[in-house]
């Protein structure tokens, strides 16, 4: 990656992460929609600096749609029943997730499908990597998503019964 692309990459990274933090802390649906639009511009810039122009265009359109949905007048607030202590614990867990994933990105030894399966990087080799070489990790992620969905459904049911 040359200097121009690298500068674009870091500027886009700052815009996207800063916009995400603004979405987290700004009050009001309008300001949150604008911040989500800034996130979309930043992510599209990241794709552009990674030589993914078409993906950048798709991301720009999709994130503009997300920003419009979040800022639209049809927006209805739904208050959660989760207590503040659990939200704080979740915020700390999000910080822990960042630390763990950043450590994995820094120290991880990435498997290369070419060396494992002597073929090109395509959907078949990635599928073999996920469901053969890293099958246990893929199943762990599946269980995690299932637990999260069941937990969200349980919270929703508790809220409905409390009405």
């Amino acid at each position: 990656m040359d200097s121009l692309h690298a500068i674009g990459f870091y500027v886009s990274a700052a815009i996207s992460v800063g916009g995400g933090l603004a979405v987290a802390f700004l009050p009001g649906r309008g300001s949150r929609g604008v911040a989500l639009g800034a996130v979309g511009v930043g992510i599209a810039g990241l794709y552009l600096s990674l030589n993914a122009g078409f993906t950048a265009l798709v991301a720009l359109v999709c994130y503009a749609g997300c920003a419009l949905l979040i800022a639209a007048p049809q927006y209805r607030a739904v208050e959660t029943v989760v207590a503040g202590a659990w939200r704080q614990a979740g915020a700390v867990a999000a910080g822990g997730l960042f630390v763990v994933l950043a450590y994995a990105a820094w120290r991880g030894k990435f498997a290369h499908p070419y060396f494992f399966y002597l073929g090109g990087v395509n959907s078949a080799s990635v599928g073999r990597l996920l469901f053969a070489h890293d099958a246990l990790a893929a199943e762990a992620v599946g269980v995690l998503i299932l637990v999260a969905l069941v937990g969200a459904t349980a919270v929703w049911r508790v809220r409905d019964r409390g009405r």
Binding site: M1, S3, A6, F9, Y10, A13, S16, V17, G20, L21, V23, A24, R29, R32, L36, V39, G40, I43, L46, Y47, S49, L50, A52, F54, T55, V58, A59, C62, Y63, G65, C66, L69, I70, Q74, Y75, R76, A77, V78, E79, T80, R87, G90, A91, A93, A94, G95, L97, F98, L101, A102, A105, W106, F110, H112, Y114, G120, V121, N122, S123, V126
Partner: protein, 91 residues
């Protein structure tokens, strides 16, 4: 100045973590939906970065295709969530 795969993965991790933070921190569930596009965007950036850096001889279109699919999925999920929230409160 340059940026490699580790820098791309760091940015992707930051986006996923900020998205998770929004999803758990917001008291309003509809506002918490805004965390989904960030998490999906982080995953998409990781896919695009891996296809850009880790496969110099292979076709990069797979990672870019997955990234575009994730962006469309994020839009669909936000639309679904906002629609369900509006339907649930208009009864």
């Amino acid at each position: 100045m340059t940026a490699g795969l580790v820098a791309v993965l760091f940015v992707a991790v930051a986006l996923v973590a900020v998205g998770a933070f929004i999803a758990v921190w917001k008291r309003d569930l509809t506002a918490a939906l805004a965390g989904l596009p960030l998490m999906f965007g982080g995953a998409g950036v990781a896919f695009a970065g891996v296809s850009r850096f880790a496969a110099p001889g292979g076709p990069p279109a797979l990672g870019q295709g997955v990234s575009a699919l994730l962006a469309v999925a994020a839009l669909a999920l936000v639309a679904l969530g906002v629609g369900i929230a509006g339907r649930g409160t208009s009864r």
